[in-house]
Symmetry: C2
Subunit: 130 residues, 2 copies
DNA sequence: AAGAATATACTACAATCGTAGAAGAAAGTC
DNA sequence: GACTTTCTTCTACGATTGTAGTATATTCTT
């Protein structure tokens, strides 16, 4: 079962691909996962296996055997991973604070009018609900 | 002079540290840069030099000599680097779109009431100004 | 000019990442 | 039960990252 592990782990690019596939539906076998990867990814089956092994070693994914086949499950939630990634980004590139990031998103990032509206919407909902 | 290079370059953790110091004020020598790094970073002078050399090789920083001393300048803007980093994050972790990221920031990320207010503020300014 | 300080260039080396082949074990098929 | 397919485990290898030592060239200082 997924527990929100504490350690700040860092997923690499390819690891994200795998995790994205895994979060979609789990438990899953390597065979299933490889099919779910974006079509532009064309890994050898063993490549995926290698990476799964590494993810298991890092305690990001659990592995259990049914017959001779391993089935995998995430050990961290997508949210948790996202939070970690965001935190790293903020630390590295936005003086470690949410403020500058928000600011950048809104000012520099040129949201479309629609995006801006949506955002307002979201914010206002949150504000009133709670 | 800084030009907004096109290639999606990727800065590593330590590279961000250096670039942050460099963006603060440039041109700058290695000696100056090392002083400007966060106090918790304690690199040997040669470590910094090695990394600067690598940044130069990657065309992220320019190097020019005054007497026998190299002075460095960024070849990409901070904004550009931020945009790239954000883009990568979105691609990997937020289905490649701004929407889910925003959504996450607002819903899952539990902004403080104050942050939320600020954000609203920003948004509304933008909305009316343009 | 000799010695001290500083900077550069080159080399190194372990850890992680991306990618995968080879060999062997298990399971499904006729 | 022999053959084929599918998995697993091991090993490999080049690229990048983090970190720094050594040797050499340059420049100050007295």
């Amino acid at each position: 079962m997924i527990v929100e592990g504490e350690g700040l782990m860092r997923l690499s690019e390819s690891e994200w691909q795998i995790m994205n596939a895994l979060w979609q539906r789990y438990p899953a076998s390597a065979r299933e996962l490889i099919e779910r990867l974006p079509k532009n990814i064309n890994w050898a089956y063993t490549t995926l296996k290698t990476m799964l092994t590494r993810l298991v070693a890092k305690n990001v994914v659990s592995e259990r055997k049914r017959a001779n086949t391993s089935i995998y499950e995430p050990l961290i939630t997508r949210s948790k991973a996202r939070r970690n990634a965001l935190q790293s980004l903020m630390d590295q590139a936005f003086d470690g604070a949410m403020g500058p990031l928000m600011h950048f998103l809104i000012e520099d990032q040129k949201l479309s009018k629609k995006q801006r509206q949506e955002l307002l919407q979201l914010l206002q909902n949150e504000n009133s609900e709670k």
